[in-house]
């Protein structure tokens, strides 16, 4: 599993964190991040399972590949790379951290 992490090239890069719920668990992230970034930053192992059951995470990060689809606020099949986080957002992934 790839080991992703946030970097901080300049001091105080990010604003104050907010919380979203990932499979019901409180997860910190930052306003301006996409749901994909929040999930990768939290170490999610898989965003979705393919039709034959293999784990998938984002590939293109620009809305083309549809590998980053997750359930957001009850709506299925949302592209997490194209959706910005907001406080209290409920995200459901196949395999959490």
């Amino acid at each position: 599993m790839p080991d992703s992490r946030r970097i901080e090239p300049v001091a105080d890069l990010r604003p104050a964190p907010i919380q979203i719920l990932v499979n019901g668990h409180k997860t910190f992230c930052y306003p301006g991040e996409t749901v994909a970034t929040a999930l990768l930053g939290a170490g999610a192992r898989g965003f979705r399972r393919s039709v034959t059951g293999t784990l998938r995470i984002p590939v293109c990060n620009m809305g083309v590949c549809y590998e980053c689809m997750v359930k957001i606020n009850g709506l299925e099949a949302q592209r997490s790379c194209m959706t910005l986080v907001s406080p209290g957002m409920c995200v459901e992934v196949t395999d959490e951290a």
Binding site: M1, P2, D3, S4, R5, R6, I7, E8, P9, V10, D12, L13, R14, P15, Y30, P31, G32, E33, T34, A36, T37, L40, G41, R45, G46, S50, V51, T52, T54, L55, R56, I57, P58, V59, C60, N61, M62, G63, V64, C65, Y66, E67, M69, L75, A77, M82, L84
Partner: protein, 476 residues
């Protein structure tokens, strides 16, 4: 939920260098303009910026393309243009009353935009390459890793292998080193450039010294960090349990065919794939614009005349959809398209296309040199897939399934027939990730040219949209 029909002189799809240039020019000339983009902010992929909530310096892409900074500033300050961000354009229709109608969806809200002219500036996306293991988590496009890094400040892995043949790969290598990531190897498929090739590329130099300087800086940085950069090297396999663990590389000949016995392995948790770009032509094809096959320039690309008009009277094209050529060409084509559209709608306009054509002429040698120098060998890349390799990631269709079907049905010679029978291309990406691989499989099996296998029929909606918004449009 609501459905509105709105009227514009010009609707532009895509807020990258081509679309923004045309939209701003047309708006300044007094046209009523709307711009649609899937991203949350202007700039397209090339000028994608850090979030406004972050305390970050602007994108480093401005160093290569200084015009970008001014373009984005003008876009942000233009309140005459109607901006539809986080909005997907999913269909072009031709109403009987004339003009063009564009269907868009913004969250759950659908709109129909009536316009006199439509400009398609939908950009390009990283060329997907199917090889054993490419669906494992951790294999990403070079563009995907780069946008996570430069606009989200997230490193998708810690130990990378970079494989491809596009110059973006070197840019990414430099950025990953700066971010503190480890790079095991940068594997470039094309052979080491010969002196005569480098000399033949001199026409690319004027006006691009800054870019060549940056490239030299990156090469020096990689050399100082001891990152191996090898030519005639291709990625052949990725292994791992539920993510990338081991990457296999092989040497290739000048046709990118694998040289047996040259395999070597790296332990890594990230693999960047950067073999080139495919033009995003789905919307143009759905609209009915004619296309031609140009594998050096992104596959199926949109035909246009010297005013950037497509085969359809009211539809124009600019940037990568008419042939992948980079941000500078996109900027010049956007300008030319904007001028042409203004001239078509305002016959008394005094805008002249002469300087736009000159700028295009100056940008072209660089784009041409890059295209020939780094052209992906799609035929060789298709051979990387073995029979177990998934070529359609959405429907999990293997190369073996497609080849078996072709063997059993000798009359089949089109990608559309394969799509109907094997389901490759029927998932949410709508064939963007598998079409060229299927085309090459059919071409190889039938011994026909790739362009004779056709393209998947592009139908509205060209991207998946909520059913509810579609139902509303049908009610209208």
């Amino acid at each position: 939920m609501k459905l509105e029909t709105l009227n514009y002189d010009l609707v532009v799809v895509g807020a990258g260098p081509a679309g923004l240039t045309a939209a701003l020019l047309a708006s300044d000339a007094g046209l009523h303009v709307a711009v649609i983009d899937e991203q949350a902010a202007p700039g397209g992929q090339i000028f994608r910026q850090p979030p406004s909530t972050f305390n970050a310096p602007p994108s480093s892409a401005f160093a290569s393309y200084p015009f970008g900074q001014k373009l984005l500033a003008q876009a942000r300050n233009n309140i005459r243009i109607k901006w539809y961000f986080s909005t997907c354009a999913w269909g072009v229709f031709h109403p009987e009353k004339g003009g063009v109608q564009l269907a868009i969806v913004e969250g759950e809200h659908s709109h129909l935009l009536d316009c006199s002219k439509l400009l398609i500036a939908t950009g390009a996306y990283d060329l997907p390459v199917a090889f054993p293991g490419w669906t494992l988590p951790g294999v990403m496009t070079a563009g995907g890793i780069q946008t996570l890094l430069k606009s989200q400040f997230l490193c998708s892995a810690q130990r990378y292998v970079l494989a491809g043949s596009h110059p973006l790969l070197l840019l990414l290598a430099g950025q990953l080193v700066d971010a503190g990531a480890q790079i095991e190897e940068v594997a470039i498929a094309r052979p080491r450039p010969k002196v005569c090739e480098l000399l033949a590329g001199w026409r690319a130099l004027p006006g691009h010294w800054r870019m060549f300087g940056q490239l030299a800086g990156i090469l020096f940085k990689l050399w100082r960090k001891g990152v191996p950069l090898r030519f005639s090297t291709i990625v052949t396999r990725v292994q791992g349990k539920e993510g990338v663990e081991r990457v296999t590389l092989s040497n290739v000949d000048t046709n990118w065919d694998i040289l047996p016995g040259t395999e070597r392995h790296h332990l890594a948790d990230g693999l960047a794939i950067g073999y080139g770009l495919l033009a995003s032509t789905e919307l143009a094809r759905q609209a009915g614009c004619s296309v031609n096959w140009n594998p050096e320039r992104g596959g199926w690309v949109v035909d246009h005349d010297d005013t950037m008009r497509t085969s359809l009277e009211h539809i124009y094209v600019a940037g990568e959809p008419c042939g992948v050529a980079g941000a500078e060409m996109a900027h010049c084509q956007g300008r030319l398209a904007g001028i042409s559209i203004v001239a078509a709608l305002r016959p008394d306009s005094t805008l002249s296309a002469i300087s736009a054509r000159r700028a295009l002429g100056r940008a072209k040698p660089f784009a041409d040199t890059v295209a020939t120098f780094f052209a992906p060998r799609l035929d060789a890349l298709t051979k990387l897939a073995d029979s177990e390799t998934l070529i359609c990631r959405c429907e999990d269709v293997t190369a073996g399934q497609v080849c078996d079907f072709l063997k059993k049905h000798p009359h089949v010679s089109s990608v559309n027939s394969v799509k109907l029978a094997c389901r490759s291309g029927m998932g949410p990406c709508q064939g963007r990730y598998c079409q060229h691989t299927v085309a090459h499989l059919v071409s190889a099996e039938r011994n026909i040219a790739v362009n004779q296998t056709g393209a998947y029929t592009a139908q509205a909606p060209v991207k998946p949209i909520p059913l509810a918004s579609l139902a509303l449009v049908q009610q209208d």
